[in-house]
């Protein structure tokens, strides 16, 4: 096979991560999430926490450092995170702008990769 026309996917992904694109993407998504959806998310969290505190009123009197993990566990048990992730997928990750951005960087990387092959 001709190595100039093919690209190893693994190499491509590691390259993408190594050059910091992945972290940038991650930050970007998180920021957008914070801006747009954190209110709803916080609201849901609050309802869960309230439920939890109603169930066990003794939590209220306890130290926050103890209650926080308990509530975090309760949140884990609900489908909140899955739902939020779905939301993010649908709303943020599916944005055309972002997609195009990523695609372009990857294409660039692709080119670099093939050049690297040629060099070696």
């Amino acid at each position: 096979m001709d190595s100039n026309k093919t690209v190893n996917v693994d190499d491509l992904v590691t390259r993408f991560k190594r050059e910091g694109h992945f972290d940038r993407l991650r930050k970007l998504v998180l920021e957008t999430f914070k801006e747009k959806e954190s209110e709803g998310f916080a609201e849901q969290l609050r309802t869960i926490a309230e439920l939890e505190l109603e169930k066990d009123p003794s939590l209220k009197t306890k130290d926050h450092f103890r209650t926080a993990p308990l509530i975090a566990g309760a949140v884990d048990r609900t489908s909140l995170y899955e739902n939020t992730l779905e939301n993010i997928k649908n709303n943020i990750l599916s944005q055309d702008k972002l997609r195009v951005n990523v695609l372009e960087t990857i294409k660039q990387l692709c080119d670099k990769e093939t050049e690297g092959h040629r060099g070696s």
């Binding site: 690209v7 996917v9 992904v13 998180l30 969290l45 884990d76 992730l85 692709c110 093939t114």
Partner: protein
């Protein structure tokens, strides 16, 4: 007889005095005999008419053979030659002690040889030479006899072995034995044998390789065709898969491919390899795999089994082990693993057989073909891009969930918790906001704080400060410094929080300090600013502070200021300082203090009322947040308003030159009277120390009272005459003094008392018993700590010879140690006691359990027997029943400190002859019995 050959003539080749070799046989002058005539008769050179018979004169004595009467020396039948044992003083080479046995049958084992040669002498080493490849015997053996007893003996044994063992038949072969001192003969023979073997092996190997190459060539061609076809098919499949499901994650796809490949291979195998019978038989396509081959000649089938090989290679990730009559094949997935295995295990031993490995690499083309199946497929650009994006998005999702959990949900939960009203105690409230400020992002911080019901006062002040007047946030640094000590006792998160404020403050301070330094530079000429900065890092009260403090002052009613302070205020306004104040020790005549005042002078000119405010502020501050400091400061702090205190000056002045400059600089200042300068300096330092600003080591501290200073009325202990020093006092300076007599009430405050311990235990037990099953409760009741033997040590005792000392603190009623010894009857005890007295064992280690049973620890016992008697004991001996047997156990009668000697009351019955008691207790009865 012939041991006394009287000059045998034959042995003298040319006797020089032959002429004179006459013996006078008859001398007429001694006794005249008619028959012999008047002339003396000589015997020449031992020739006589009746031939001379030489006799051992000792044999004339018939009793001679019995030996010399009353002497232990044995009678020697003949003279013996003196032989010297070979030792380090002997000259010449060591007599040989090694033998080399050859022409052995290969069936003879080392054990057999050892058995045979043991009869000649102790064998220290027996080396049966083995074929390193097969582990079979080469028929050569080196035996060295033990020189441990003596070299000559070993040599004798070796000689004997050579004499007697040569020609011996072992397993049908006559063995040959020669002396082989340095083992060279054996070595040579072995090398020769090995050469022969290796030559044979090499030849065989060469033949085999030739054959293999031929086979391989044939197979290669066949395979090439096969592979071509396979690849074609694969590619088609691949393309189809990609086009169909571009959303399928690539790993799954590749898996599919792999499985597909496997299937393919399987089919291939199956079609070609019908001979395959079981797991261990070698697959036909072994040549396509990476494997390590062990030749059968290295692993004799009767000695090395499949399991041995498996065990030998257990540490490596091989794929499979196969064997046929050629040897073993260990196949590997990767070349790297195989090669690492090869390097570590080549020429190692399996069941005493050295195995030579042969690494077989898969043919080049095959290898490249195999490699990508392990990794992701190489894809054309567009496909690669899409798959890469899907991979990245998948990763991103994972990461995002984590991010949301940690960065958003976590703080959010805290925030939610904050917002709930709670009936919580103060402590929690204190913690809550702190945490939130730590964890909540900046934007939420103010919100969280504002929602708080209320905060502890000092905290609020700091916060309010930050929000309202950012410039005023620089709290007096000195104050904080003093606080810091207390702060360290708080939980870590609390400290951390405090630290953030501190650091932000100190940054400002540093800047200011620099500013101030510039100002100073102009005034105090020739002074190194950097040094000043070092020594006075926190002395930068500036206008901001002033502002703040003024504000602060306004909030406090003036009447609350102590009168002393207002005095100080007046004084401070006059620049020439605090000398008049009786509370403050003043700067002085000598060079150092004036410098301080000079420094202060400059400061005061700038901001006259600061020092006043600082002192006052300090006082109030401490009374205000009582949590930090209880009570007022022990001493007022004269340095509060001084830039460099005594330590600072001492630090700055490094040599005479510095001092001279200082003098010059202060020449214009008036000197103050401070009385004795040493005393003055001492007071300042002690002040500082008590304020907790310096560690104890840096300041002069009087030695702590040791409790045995006696003030002699006459001025000298010698002139005091006789007086009794109480035991309690003595024990403090005599290290061996029995510490049991010390009243240790004052020391018990610091440590956990036994009572506390007991109470805690009881509480714990009660708490647990309520909730636990009865069985578990039972378990708890048996407190292992109570039955544990304590750490004890015996040593010279003040009371009597040896004593037992506690090496740890022992609580009251705790078991200390069991008194262990032989359990004997009264009768025997009486006898033994008499015996012991006769033997000179003065001390009695007999402990009576009851009328007839006595524990004797004199000869057999534990260290409990060293416990001395005391009339005021700290332990008590109790006889308890354990499993129906009576035991003596020593319990602590009171709390015993580490290092105290253990004592108990022996409770001897009264007797006529008294044993004096030396316990030294105030309540001593004087006698043990």
């Amino acid at each position: 007889m012939d041991s006394f050959p009287s000059k045998p003539p034959s042995q003298k080749p040319n006797p020089p005095l032959q002429r004179n070799n006459y013996k006078l046989i008859y001398d007429p002058e001694l006794g005249f005999k008619e028959s012999l005539g008047k002339k003396p008769v000589y015997r020449f050179n031992g020739v006589a008419k009746p031939p001379l018979v030489v006799r051992d004169p000792r044999h004339k004595n018939p009793l001679y053979s019995r030996g010399i009467p009353k002497s232990g020396r044995p009678f020697l039948k003949s003279l013996q030659q003196v032989r010297f044992e070979y030792n380090e003083d002997s000259l010449g080479p060591e007599p040989p002690t090694q033998i080399f046995v050859y022409n052995l049958s290969p069936l003879v084992t080392a054990d057999q040889l050892r058995y045979h040669f043991k009869s000649f002498g102790d064998i220290s080493q027996l080396d049966l030479q083995l074929n390193p490849y097969t582990g079979t015997s080469l028929g050569l053996c080196r035996i060295s006899f033990s020189k441990h007893e003596s070299v000559s003996k070993a040599h004798l044994a070796a000689k004997l072995a050579v004499q007697q063992a040569s020609g011996l038949k072992l397993s049908g072969k006559q063995l040959m034995v020669v002396i082989d001192d340095d083992g060279s003969k054996c070595e040579a023979a072995r090398d020769k044998a090995l050469q022969v073997i290796e030559a044979e092996f090499a030849e065989e190997l060469y033949k085999r390789e030739q054959q293999m190459k031929k086979e391989e060539k044939e197979r290669e061609e066949e395979r090439e065709k096969e592979r071509e076809r396979e690849r074609e098919r694969e590619r088609e499949e691949e393309m189809k898969a990609i086009h169909e499901t571009s959303n399928v994650p690539p790993w799954r796809r590749s898996q599919k491919n792999q499985s597909y490949n496997k299937q393919q291979n399987g089919n291939f195998d199956f079609s070609n390899n019908n001979l395959k019978t079981n797991d261990t038989s070698v697959p036909k396509d072994i040549e396509n795999l990476i494997y390590i081959f062990i030749d059968d000649r290295f692993v004799p089938p009767d000695r090395v089994y499949y399991s041995d090989i498996k065990h030998h290679f257990r540490k490596f990730r091989y794929e499979g082990i196969y064997m046929n009559r050629d040897g073993f094949y260990i196949t590997f997935n990767s070349y790297r693993e195989a090669s690492s295995c090869f390097w570590t295990l080549d020429k190692t031993f399996v069941q005493n057989c050295r195995i030579k490995l042969k690494l077989h690499d898969a043919p080049q083309s095959k290898k490249t073909d195999l490699a990508p199946t392990n990794k992701k497929k190489e894809l054309p650009k567009e496909d690669a891009c899409t798959t890469a994006i899907s991979v990245i998005l998948k990763d991103l999702e994972e990461v995002l969930v984590r991010d949301i959990k940690n960065k958003i949900a976590g703080p959010c939960i805290f925030q939610i918790l904050e917002s709930f009203p709670k009936p919580a105690p103060i402590k929690e409230e204190e913690k809550g906001p702190k945490i939130s400020t730590l964890e909540v992002p900046e934007s939420l911080k103010t919100e969280a704080i504002s929602t708080l019901p209320h905060l502890p006062r000092f905290k609020k002040r700091a916060d309010a400060h930050k929000i309202k007047l950012p410039t005023e946030s620089k709290i007096k640094s000195k104050l904080q410094r003093r606080r810091r000590k207390k702060i360290e006792a708080r939980p870590l998160h609390y400290q951390l929080n405090q630290q953030t404020y501190d650091s932000s403050d100190s940054e400002f301070e540093q800047e200011e300090a620099l500013d101030e330094e510039k100002v100073f530079d102009g005034k105090s000429d020739g002074f190194k600013p950097s040094k000043v900065e070092e020594s006075t890092p926190f002395l930068s009260e500036t206008s901001e502070d002033e502002e703040y403090l003024e504000k602060f002052q306004r909030t406090r009613p003036k009447s609350r200021l102590p009168r002393r302070k207002s005095d100080k205020l007046d004084i401070d306004y006059t620049s020439s300082s605090e000398t008049e104040s009786d509370e403050f020790v003043s700067p002085a005549v000598i060079s150092k203090p004036p410098f301080e005042r000079y420094k202060k002078h400059a400061l005061v000119k700038e901001q006259q009322d600061i020092s006043l405010l600082t002192t006052k502020h300090k006082e109030n501050e401490f009374s205000e947040d009582g949590g930090l400091f209880y009570g007022t400061l022990p001493y007022n702090y004269p340095e509060d308003d001084v830039l460099v205190d005594l330590d600072g000056v001492q630090y700055l002045l490094k040599d005479d030159q510095d001092l001279q400059y200082l003098r010059e600089a202060l020449a214009s200042e008036d000197a103050n009277d401070i009385g004795d300068p040493n005393y003055w300096a001492f007071r300042r330092k002690i002040c500082k120390f008590r304020n907790g600003d310096v560690s104890a080591e840096g300041s002069p501290v009087l030695p702590a009272s040791v409790g045995y200073e006696r003030i002699n009325s006459t001025g000298s202990a010698r002139s005091e005459g006789y007086y009794i020093i109480p035991t309690a006092e003595k024990s403090q300076y005599l290290p061996l003094r029995n510490r049991s007599t010390v009243e240790g009430a004052n020391q018990s405050t610091s440590r956990v008392t036994s009572r506390m311990h007991r109470v805690n235990n009881r509480r714990l037990a009660a708490g647990v018993e309520k909730s636990l099953l009865p069985a578990e409760a039972d378990l708890l009741r048996f407190n292992a700590l109570k039955a544990r033997k304590k750490q004890l040590n015996f040593g010279p005792s003040r009371i009597h010879t040896l004593g037992l000392f506690a090496m740890e603190n022992i609580d009251k009623n705790d078991m200390v140690i069991e008194y262990v010894g032989e359990v004997i009857r009264q009768r025997i005890a009486d006898n033994r006691e008499k015996n012991y007295v006769r033997e000179g064992i003065g001390d009695s280690y007999l402990f009576r359990i009851d009328e007839d049973i006595i524990v004797d620890a004199t000869k057999k016992g534990n260290i409990a027997r060293f416990i001395n008697h005391s009339c005021a004991p700290n332990c008590i001996a109790r006889i308890i029943r354990v499993e129906g047997k009576k035991k003596i156990v020593i319990y602590a009668d009171r709390d015993i400190m580490q290092g105290e000697e253990l004592t108990y009351d022996y409770k001897f019955p009264e007797e006529a002859d008294k044993i004096p008691c030396l316990c030294g207790a105030p309540t001593c009865r004087g006698y043990l019995n």
